[in-house]
């Protein structure tokens, strides 16, 4: 005899993260300086402090928002940013589960 069990579903929340990696203020940014001079050539000589960073998007599954935050902190500290020269911050958003 076949017994059908109701399928158990553990829905692990899905998050999307937007990660911003920026150069620390003490670090010179020659690329930013070059872009600033390009803007000046366009006539925007009112622009200063051009700093170029990185923007990373990813989605991840984690049990709680706190767990996702903790994992992202570790990812940023160890790989996505280099703490010697860069700062980072991220925004976390809960995705609707399918």
């Amino acid at each position: 005899m076949l017994v059908f069990y109701p399928q158990l579903e553990f829905v692990v929340p899905h998050y999307s993260a937007r990660i911003y990696v920026t150069l620390r203020p003490s670090v010179l940014d020659p690329a930013g300086t070059a872009v600033q001079s390009g803007l000046a050539h366009m006539g925007y000589d009112n622009v200063d402090q051009v700093r170029i960073g990185k923007y990373i998007e990813l989605t991840l599954q984690a049990d709680t928002e706190a767990a996702a935050t903790q994992q992202l902190d570790r990812m940023c500290d160890q790989l996505l940013a280099n703490p010697v020269i860069e700062n980072y911050r991220f925004e976390l958003q809960t995705l609707a589960t399918a």
């Binding site: 003490s26 670090v27 010179l28 020659p30 690329a31 790989l79 996505l80 280099n82 010697v84 020269i85």
Partner: protein, 231 residues
Amino acid sequence: MKFGVIVFPGANCDRDVAYVTRDLLQQPTRMVWHEDSDLDDIDVVVVPGGFSYGDYLRCGAIARFSPAMQATVAHANQGKPVLGICNGFQILTEVGLLPGALMRNRDMRFICDRVPLRVEHTDRPWTQGYDPHQIITLPIAHGEGCYYADDATLADLEAHDQIVFRYCGLDGSVDQSQNPNGSLHNIAGICNRQGNVLGLMPHPERAADALVGGTDGLPMFQGLLKTLAVA
């Protein structure tokens, strides 16, 4: 003395290093694939130049997590010699064996040139083959060779004689006009506090055979062999 040369996808100076250690210096040399984590038979690890893993994200950022690099950290922590050249230097800073970071060159350009360097300290295993403050000429080829560290780290490097090579003029003068990439304190190469780990942007392995222009890089390897033979 057995050399191990780490081979990453995208490494392009690994064979040049092996040519120096195996063919010129007659030392046993093993090419170590990046997924290999066993370095027990190796005396000296060389992390070569190139573009490991395409240098995606940051130069050396991804290579640091390879099994071979984790084994290299253990090797270094046992006090055994590790040499990082160019991309290898970048990887050694990313993995934390050397302080600081290497950033985009001051003038934003990839530089391929031959530059004079001043050997600052000759009591290190790697520099015994040079005379104090000797001026040598080595090739450089990098887009991200601008050494950066915060003021406290720089003071620490100076205080403990860890700055081994500086960019200089042909007369040995060290100033900004002799600085190809904007490196702080004209730093071309540094070692760790104990001196067993050396990282430098110039390529000693490309200046080891007179046939291809210059032999100023060869004493770096010869000096190390002499040091290890005594130890």
